[in-house]
């Protein structure tokens, strides 16, 4: 990671996070007010906030919530696509799909890493996911019923994710912004692959074409819901925008996505399932029909087609893997003890036992 270099250390970087947390318990002290002012100035000047910088607790909490939800979405999002790895209809597609699902696991790793810089460990966050205290993107509560769904997810779901995430590359929190740069590069690759998959189907046999259209029909509306509730109902938006965690409103991004997709659908030779879709000359945007927000709320509440299935599989994988993680930890501890015992007496103990490459600390 490349740290943001500034000619001299700005005041908000002169304090470590503990100070702010302590100060927050009493009435704001003069020192804390200065830190807050320095933080606000840094955000206003589009400087990056780094892990060791002072930051308001609410900023930290908001970031942890957002990054964790994003990380959870990556790992839950592996499931609907992994559903087709074993049935991919050509070796080339199989390789592409496996690599994509692997990338999502990698994104999960970067993001849990970014959350860790805010003091939120992976185990803690996974526990919150498994117990339903933290959410993941509702889009993954829809099933992948045919092979074409893999393409529709790539084109629409990854497309929506990119539209949402590209502005996050300029997010005020450094580690998150940098993780997003890597993630967005890979996501746009996935999106092109999804588009290309649908194009092959659309130009294929009648059955393949129908499969592609059916998938787009089912994924279009849920993809529009990925941008979150309309601006006037979005609880966290205003504050996140003030902090430059978020840079555009839900509705703005949704419109941008629709405008991108309409010509792409046409190029694919597929239709979007919205009779109200028409070009608005005055606005310079595509008008689109009303979104079924009741469905959105239902799925969010846990009543989507796959909520139970996704979370159960995640918990099962975690529980079935407990003995493996315990074994790795036990082995690492034994190795450390063996090394310590082998050390000649009187010699200062050097490096702590190097944790095994894949073992979790």
């Amino acid at each position: 990671m490349t740290p943001v270099t500034t000619p001299s250390t700005p005041p908000h970087q002169q304090a470590e996070r503990g100070m702010g947390a302590d100060a927050a318990e009493g009435p704001p002290s003069g020192a804390e007010q200065a830190l807050q002012a320095a933080f606000d100035a840094a955000v206003a000047a589009d400087e990056r906030i780094e892990p060791r910088d002072w930051m308001p607790e609410a900023y930290r909490a908001s970031l942890v919530r957002q990054i964790a939800q994003h990380a959870h979405s990556e790992i839950i999002g592996m499931q609907p696509e992994a559903n087709w790895i074993t049935r991919a209809p050509s070796l080339r597609r199989k390789a592409i799909l496996m690599a994509k699902v692997q990338d999502e696991a990698g994104h999960g790793l970067y993001l849990y890493g970014a959350a860790e810089t805010l003091g939120a460990g992976r185990d803690e966050l996974l526990d919150k996911l498994h117990t339903g205290r933290q959410k993941y993107s509702s889009i993954f509560n829809y099933p992948t019923l045919t092979w074409a769904d893999v393409g529709a997810i790539g084109w629409l779901v990854d497309g929506a994710a990119i539209t949402n995430q590209v502005p996050l590359c300029r997010c005020s929190y450094g580690p998150y912004a940098r993780a997003m740069v890597r993630i967005c590069k890979e996501e746009s690759f996935h999106q092109r692959q999804g588009y290309e998959l649908l194009l092959a189907l659309s130009r294929g046999t009648e059955a393949q074409r129908a499969m592609a259209q059916d998938a787009v029909n089912r994924w279009w509306w849920p993809s529009l819901m990925m941008f979150g509730p309309p601006d006037d109902e979005s609880p966290h938006s205003a504050r996140s925008m003030a902090w430059k965690i978020k840079r555009h409103s839900n509705d703005e991004l949704r419109q941008r996505f629709v405008d991108i997709c309409v010509p792409q659908a046409e190029a694919l030779g597929l239709t979007l399932p919205d009779p109200d879709l028409r070009w608005n000359e005055e606005r310079g945007h595509w008008d689109f029909g009303a979104i079924d927000w009741q469905e959105f709320r239902d799925v969010l509440k846990g009543n989507g087609p796959c909520n139970e299935q996704r979370l159960s599989q995640r918990r099962r994988a975690h529980e079935n893997g407990a003995w493996v993680r315990e074994a790795a930890a036990a082995h690492a501890a034994k190795q450390a003890a063996r090394r310590a015992a082998a050390q000649p007496p009187g010699q200062p103990s050097g490096q702590a036992a190097r944790p095994t490459e894949t073992a979790r600390s």
Binding site: S90, A95, A317, H331
Partner: protein, 244 residues
């Protein structure tokens, strides 16, 4: 390091068993996606699966004149036409089974590819990949064998269950000029060394059973393989002639 003289030709269909080994094990590893015990292993198992799939595709490409496209080879052959060893088709089982299967296979594939590298263009790259696969399996065998009582028991059980499929690996493959006995001796020493360090016991049960010895290479497979192929081939076969 290859100790084998360079320039030995590889027979026309001799690489089919190697390609089938790689394809089938890749498929099995792909079944782990979304089920791995820890996120790092999602990445690692997918990595190995992708390497193996790449190897299979490269090997199939070399057979195109005789057997057709890679997809025809993978998707349109019947179970009895596959030439993979039975070890790679064994179901994943728990993580210990998957790791021991990988150790047994990679410890075989590594010296094999190494011997073949002068005459098989793919092999040099595959040797590097396989060295990583073997190392990954070794590291986990050490962790699981040494870690907890449960992990030890599970790993020993996996070794005992998979042992009967290892004799087949060294049955000569027609057209591959490889010193099989030498390979077997190397494999045995390698596996024994890893097991010793992991505190595991090398099974003493037979490795050359009436059914398993060389059977996969002749197209005789175990029951789970047919189901695996059914799942793998279903979509492709449902749309004859379609391109994807």
């Amino acid at each position: 390091m290859s100790t084998h003289p360079a320039g030995h030709p590889v027979g026309a269909l001799a690489t089919l068993p190697l390609g089938d080994d790689a394809l089938v094990l890749s498929h099995r590893l792909g079944e782990w996606a979304g089920h791995a015990p820890v996120l790092e292993e999602e990445v690692a198992l997918a990595n190995i699966a992708l390497d193996l799939l790449g190897q299979a595709r490269a090997l199939y490409a070399g057979l195109a004149d005789v057997l057709g496209s890679e997809d025809e080879i993978a998707y349109l052959r019947e179970e009895r036409e596959f030439r993979n060893c039975q070890l790679v088709e064994q179901p994943n089982g728990d993580f210990a089974h998957t790791i021991v299967r990988q150790l047994f296979f990679s410890a075989y594939q590594l010296p094999l590819y190494d011997r073949l590298s002068p005459s098989l263009p793919l092999a040099a790259k595959a040797v590097r990949e396989t060295a990583y696969h073997r190392d990954h399996a070794e590291q986990w065998t050490l962790r699981l064998g040494d870690g907890t009582e449960e992990s030890h028991t599970r790993t020993q059980r996996a070794a005992d269950a998979l042992w009967r499929f290892t004799g087949e690996l060294f049955q000569p493959v027609e057209g591959l000029d490889v010193p099989w006995q030498e390979l077997e001796a190397e494999w045995t020493a390698d596996v024994r060394d890893v097991f010793d360090r992991a505190g595991l016991t090398v099974p003493e049960t037979p490795r050359h059973g009436a059914w398993s010895a060389g059977a996969g290479r002749q197209g005789l497979h175990t029951e789970p393989f047919g189901r695996m192929l059914a799942e793998m081939q279903h979509l492709h076969r449902s749309h004859p002639g379609a391109t994807w």
